[in-house]
């Protein structure tokens, strides 16, 4: 995984609560056995009509949001299925940061493992950013992980919480499996003691 230090990107406001992973990546695309190439199927049923043409009303299809890399959305984003195809699709499309008042647990974990930063801000703060991203042209945010700050174009910033270990893993792009494997002897001791 590539280290995540700071990201500056165009914001896409997706003003809806409880967006589930079935919407992020519908099941017909879960049959692939690769990790890549899911971006074109992101939010498929909202992005495209039945005949495959694009739905001009959906936010990702608006011209001004085409290069978006920061998704701003409602509470409980990523609820439902544990499919990691959801963050794979978001990443492959280009999103590096998702800002919401809350995330579903498994989805949030899956984001960290793929170098997407889930940022939790208060409902009021998210609503403010949503409004700005909707009404202002080319609204870009700077997200600094080391300082745990979301910095607005006017220089005003708000801080966010992140677990220290998770932060460290993202900053350094740590291979978590490799990290656990350094404790191989402790795992073996545990197995011996538990007679597993």
């Amino acid at each position: 995984m590539e280290p995540f230090l700071e990201h500056i990107g165009l914001c896409v406001p997706l003003d809806r609560v409880n967006i589930d992973t079935d919407q992020i990546i519908p099941k017909q695309f879960l049959k692939r056995i690769e990790r890549t190439g899911f971006g074109e199927f992101l939010f498929y049923d909202w992005r495209y009509y039945d005949d495959g043409s694009t739905n001009p009303d959906f936010i990702l299809n608006h011209d001004q949001y085409k290069d978006g890399t920061v998704l701003i959305t409602g509470t409980n984003f990523g609820c439902g299925s544990s499919r990691e195809h959801a963050p794979w699709a978001l990443l492959d499309y280009g999103f590096r940061v998702i800002i919401a008042p809350s995330f579903a647990d498994i989805f949030k974990n899956n984001c960290y493992k793929n170098g997407i930063l889930p940022v939790i801000l208060s409902t009021e703060a998210v609503e403010e950013l949503m409004l700005a991203a909707t009404s202002e042209d080319d609204y870009r945010l700077r997200i600094n992980l080391e300082a745990q700050l979301v910095i607005r174009p006017d220089g005003v910033s708000c801080s966010f919480e992140i677990d220290d270990f998770q932060k460290n893993c993202m900053l350094k792009g740590i291979d978590e499996i490799g990290w656990t494997l350094q404790f191989e002897s402790q795992i073996a001791d545990y197995e011996a003691q538990s007679r597993i």
């Binding site: 809806r16 609560v17 409880n18 589930d20 079935d22 919407q23 519908p26 099941k27 017909q28 879960l30 049959k31 692939r32 056995i33 690769e34 990790r35 049923d45 039945d50 409602g74 509470t75 409980n76 609820c79 439902g80 299925s81 544990s82 499919r83 990691e84 963050p87 809350s102 579903a104 647990d105 498994i106 974990n109 899956n110 493992k113 793929n114 677990d163 220290d164 270990f165 998770q166 291979d175 978590e176 499996i177 990290w179 656990t180 494997l181 404790f183 402790q186 795992i187 545990y190 197995e191 538990s194 597993i196």
Partner: protein, 468 residues
Amino acid sequence: MSPKTMFKKIWDNHVVRESQGEATVLYIDTHLIHEVTSPQAFEGLRLANRRVRRPDQAFATMDHNVPTTDRSLPITDLISKKQMETLTKNCEEFGIRLYDLHHSNQGIVHVLGPELGITQPGMTIVCGDSHTSTHGAFGALAFGIGTSEIEHVLATQCLLQHQPETFEICIDGQLQFGVTAKDIILSVIGRIDIDGGTGTVVEYTGSAIKSLGIEERMTICNMSIEAGARAGMIAPDDKTYEYIAGREFAPKGEEFDKAVANWKKLSTDSGATYDHSITISAADLAPQVTWGTNPGMVINVTETIPDPDKMPTQHQKKAAENALMYMDLKPNTPITQITIDKVFIGSCTNSRITDLRVAAEIAKDRKVSSNVNAIVVPGSQAVKRQAEAEGLDEVFRSAGFEWREAGCSMCLAMNDDVLQPGERCASTSNRNFEGRQGKDGRTHLVSPQMAAAAAIEGKFVDVRTWRS
């Protein structure tokens, strides 16, 4: 020693390493695997030249995209076929036990785990599927994981975890006739909402929970994730031990007695506290029907479709408006006036033998409405064999239900069992998200009894008073 919750006991028993500022290295006893979320994990192992640490603690099956029609015929969906072949190849290469499409143990991963005695109290169990919470019904700590974590477990038999909070949901009192485990859990989700359990592990307690059979307890724990909880658990008791005894992977003889003695120590100590608690009176519960596009949008069968204008917040109003538009429903319509096109009895929530028995009891000597297409999909080959031995397949067939092979089927519609656009389904599954059962398909989640009765009537009815 200070009193502990059941969750904390199991957690503490599985800590391999704990250090300030680090995630806990938690040992995983059992890893369940299926074809959809695992290919990229095995590929990751190959790319990093890593081995599977404990193939003996992994069990794989094919369930998500398997056909439920005649299995002697070739699989026509070539992409699904490739995914199944990939699982076979991966299991062979890494030495993992596989119950493939034609194996007599094949079934939905959360049905076969308990059925084979793989699921036992006190264990940590994971699977790349959010409904892994099902196994908590035995007093295990069981939760769903993503594909990166599948790879982590394969390579290390451990996961990096942060300790969640605990949430006691106490269901006390006696359920009315016709009110089931499914109605309990749907009511819970309706009450705490679909993110009410986020960041927590739920323990279900109370006399109503104790009175439930093991398979009903699985229905409850299964849907913990629909309230956002990582896991749901129920303390093991004599019913649990009886259920496990004699199953293929259960301890045998003296080992079993020793195991039971240990399992009896797992229950939450008196005086232990939970981070959150609620109590619900079982007697007040009615059969539930979802009306919207998530499992928290649920009401009693006797109620009418909610009016978005009466929702307390703008977000809820907008969500309700979106849901009603998708579901093609009007505010204030009685649930019992909603007609349906399809009925699906199955899924890891409600496809076990007890679910099929209660549905068959309703279907017996009756006919599925001429406007309805209804299918019954047993959760596993073993459930199918048992049902056929009891003649339930004949009951369903003569009533006009289709009797299928085991798999996830129309719960997530990855195979050919799909709703057509605009079709409305009474489903015993766990999610009514937009498009879940097919693009523009409309799902109403209900109990097996409610689904069977809806199939007969062509619309929702209150099973408590129906043809009484």
